[in-house]
């Protein structure tokens, strides 16, 4: 039996306090009803718990989070998964800018669209690898300064090639997969196209299947399409920029 918390009119601090207390008491399922823009839900939360958010989550959902699964039945404001360590965020809707900013581990799934700077500065460390999967569109600067992990942009309702600028500018680790074509002019400093082969299709398969499990699409037809794979030209994009005094 899940713990239900009515978030109507509740400030984020008491709301988070209540969530933390429930997790500390051993609760593994929490449902937050009537969420209306409360920020910082599950901020810094550590533990094995599933939190269902009914409503629209405010900024920095799951920031610094390590472990929990957060399922949002609605949209999310900016930076869900900001500097997240481990766990899963599933958003049944769209999300704002800087989704998965500096995320170091765990997964973020967004059913529809995300704003600017998605997956910016995502990084990996040893076994920790972050994944951002977006079903719809992303705005410019996707994967900017990316240092590790994987971004998968499915563009399920797309017409024409991906045409948002600043794609993966300054990327020096990790990779971005975009379903379909990408216009050449979008690739920014340090970003290069890489071959997409069957091995790569096998690597994205679990993420596509997980996306379809959450949001109910057909994994095989999505996987059957062509993808553009983008990675770093090198791990030291700015090594040649400087000279000594």
């Amino acid at each position: 039996m899940a713990t239900h918390i009515d978030a109507a009119g509740v400030h984020y601090t008491p709301l988070n306090k209540e969530v933390r207390a429930a997790v500390a008491a051993g609760e593994t399922e929490i449902v937050l009803d009537n969420v209306l823009g409360q920020r910082f839900i599950a901020d810094g939360l550590v533990g094995e718990v599933t939190i269902t958010v009914n409503g629209v989550a405010g900024g920095d959902l799951g920031m610094f989070m390590r472990g929990p699964t957060v399922v949002v039945h609605g949209n999310a404001d900016h930076a869900p998964g900001n500097t997240m360590e481990a766990g899963t965020i599933v958003i049944h809707g769209s999300a704002g800018d800087a989704v998965a900013h500096s995320m170091r581990g765990g997964k973020v799934f967004v059913r529809d669209d995300i704003g600017y700077r998605g997956g910016i500065h995502m990084k990996a460390y040893h076994e920790r690898r972050p994944y951002l999967v977006v079903g719809g569109e992303a705005r410019p600067f996707l994967g900017e300064y990316m240092a590790g992990g994987m971004i998968l942009l499915l563009r399920l309702n797309a017409v024409g090639p991906f045409a948002e600028r600043g794609l993966a500018s300054g990327i020096h680790g990790g990779e971005v997969f975009i379903r379909g074509e990408v216009e050449d002019r979008c690739l920014a400093v340090g970003a290069v196209r890489m071959p997409f082969g069957e091995e790569d299709r096998a690597r994205i398969r679990p993420l596509v299947e997980e996306y379809c499990r959450y949001f109910g699409a057909d994994a095989e037809s999505i996987l059957a399409d062509d993808y553009t794979r983008i990675g770093p030209a090198g791990t030291r994009p700015f090594a040649g920029k400087y000279t000594w005094e």
């Binding site: 920020r39 610094f64 800087a98 900013h101 170091r104 500065h121 990084k123 020096h172 680790g173 400087y242």
Partner: protein, 503 residues
């Protein structure tokens, strides 16, 4: 046309009558300035950085170092530095990197501010026999206090006081990351902070486990790259500092080159070995003062509102307005880093030409916060080129609550300010990750040296206060009447809100 090499910067000579060919200079110089030729040691002056390690280690005082005279045609505009920078850039096509603080021969405002002292009418205080209060609390102060009477008739404080940091001296050690400096250097600083009853900053490189025993004295930093930042790191620190800007390089980010990201630095920063650690200029989630407020609150929320959050900015012309925004963002302190602030590496053009002096910035920030009635909302920490107790005292009189020292603490550990930190070969074991060089720095002994420095300066501040008839640092803060400007123009006196000498 061939550019050729530029002239030597320094000239090293070895006195053959004194040298006993022990080879310590060869062992000690990581830049390869010395080598053995037959039965004598010769110096390759071109490699010298004036780090002074050879001179300090020579048992016979046989080594002499002089700045090498440059015989370009003299010209007031086309200085040797200007010409050599052009040769360098014409050859390489790169941005010139530089270390340490601003190297332009600009006048110091601190040196043109004179402290006051009491004479007969307003007696001075003798710190030898009078208690002097230098204890400082950093963080929000309530604008008023509310009390209530209990049923038992006692009086209880009703106002909830925000968490503050308590320091026994107004001098703290600024943020220098593991990566920029060695672990032994960080350990020495942490020990010094512990001994002196103050705090040190971790910089943006995470916290190495060897620093955990000192974590109550550490302020953890969150920069745009979020290196080493996780919930444990945030909970370990006594306070959290968001780095927006740095005095040595306002408006640009940080960049630790992959060569310096060895196994231990990699673990601490939580990035793969050998990869560049890029902290871009903006935080990707801060594009406005409202966004900054959101980051401040997210850090407080993550740590359950137990820790003060500082925001560090570079001293730039609109620093006062930004500080007012920071005060309203929920932050507990604003750190203002002046254009003399040090760095491990910055583009020379930024280090030398961007930003404003800390003296002007602090005064402007203090005045702005006072004029808006929000000075109590935020503490003000001054940093960037604090060289002695006089600078500390003047910074506080101009409106700072406390200061951060950086270069001065490194000098206390042996740094000779050679400005070559960016090469990662620091012979003193400070700005290097090379194990043999790091091992040269003894964290215990150098920790004592830094603690001694802070202790000595604290006593000097106390004496200066006593001379001015002030027995509590609270009474010195923003007390511009204890300062007079000497050879400063009217405009500057107005910015500083200080009277001229004789007035």
């Amino acid at each position: 046309m061939a550019i050729g090499s530029v002239p030597l910067r320094y000239k090293i000579t070895i006195d053959p009558d004194r040298c006993m060919e022990c080879g310590r200079c060869i062992e000690n110089c990581p830049y390869g300035t010395f080598r053995k030729e037959g039965d004598r040691i010769v110096a390759v002056s071109r490699n010298c950085t004036a780090c002074h390690r050879c001179i300090a280690m020579c048992p016979r005082d046989a080594i002499t170092l002089v700045e090498h005279p440059v015989d370009y045609r003299s010209h007031p505009l086309w200085t040797p530095e200007a010409r050599e920078a052009i040769y360098n850039q014409a050859r390489t096509g790169g941005i010139i990197l530089a270390g340490m603080g601003n190297a332009m021969p600009l006048p110091s405002i601190f040196d043109r501010l004179l402290l006051d002292a009491c004479q007969v009418t307003n007696p001075s205080i003798d710190p030898l026999r009078e208690p002097m209060e230098l204890r400082t609390y950093l963080g929000k102060k309530p604008s008023k206090l509310a009390f209530r009477r209990t049923e038992a008739g006692d009086v209880e404080l009703e106002t909830k006081i925000a968490p503050n940091l308590m320091i026994e001296t107004p001098i703290m050690i600024g943020h220098m990351s593991y990566g920029a400096i060695s672990l032994n250097a960080q350990l020495a600083l942490a020990r010094a902070a512990h001994t002196a009853g103050t705090f040190m900053g971790t910089g943006e490189g995470g916290m190495h486990p060897d620093l955990y025993p000192y974590q109550k004295r550490l302020i953890v930093q969150v920069a745009s790259g979020r290196f080493g930042v996780d919930i444990d790191y945030l909970n370990r620190g006594a306070a959290i500092e968001i780095k927006i800007g740095q005095g040595a390089k306002p408006g640009i980010g940080g960049h630790l080159p992959g060569e310096k990201v060895g196994p231990d630095v990699s673990r601490t920063r939580m990035i793969p070995e050998g990869s560049d650690a890029i902290s871009p200029a903006p935080h990707h989630d801060i594009y406005s003062i409202e966004d900054l407020a959101q980051l401040v609150r997210s850090l407080k929320e993550a740590t359950e509102w137990q820790k003060p959050v500082f925001v560090k900015i570079a001293a730039v012309h609109n620093a006062a307005a930004v500080a007012a925004g920071i005060a309203r963002s929920g932050a507990d302190a604003v750190v203002v880093d002046g254009f003399r602030g040090g760095t491990g590496a910055a583009p020379k053009v930024f280090r030398d030409h961007v930003g404003i002096p800390i003296e002007a910035a602090i005064s402007a920030v203090d005045q702005k916060l006072r004029s808006q009635g929000i000075r109590n909302e935020v503490s003000v920490i001054a940093s960037g080129g604090i060289r002695d107790a006089a600078d500390v005292t003047k910074a506080i009189a101009l409106g700072a609550d406390a200061v951060y020292i950086g270069t001065a603490a490194l000098v206390a550990m042996g740094c000779r300010v050679c400005g070559t930190c960016y090469r990662g070969l620091c012979p003193w074991g400070i700005a290097t990750q090379r194990p043999d060089l790091v091992a040269r720095l003894d964290p215990v002994r150098e920790g004592e040296h830094v603690a001694n420095l802070i202790h000595a300066w604290t006593m000097e501040v106390s004496e200066l206060m006593g001379a001015a008839g002030i027995n509590a640092i609270e009474s010195l803060r923003g007390n511009r009447d204890r300062l007079r400007g000497y050879m400063l123009d009217e405009g500057m006196l107005q910015v500083l809100d200080v009277k001229t000498v004789g007035a």
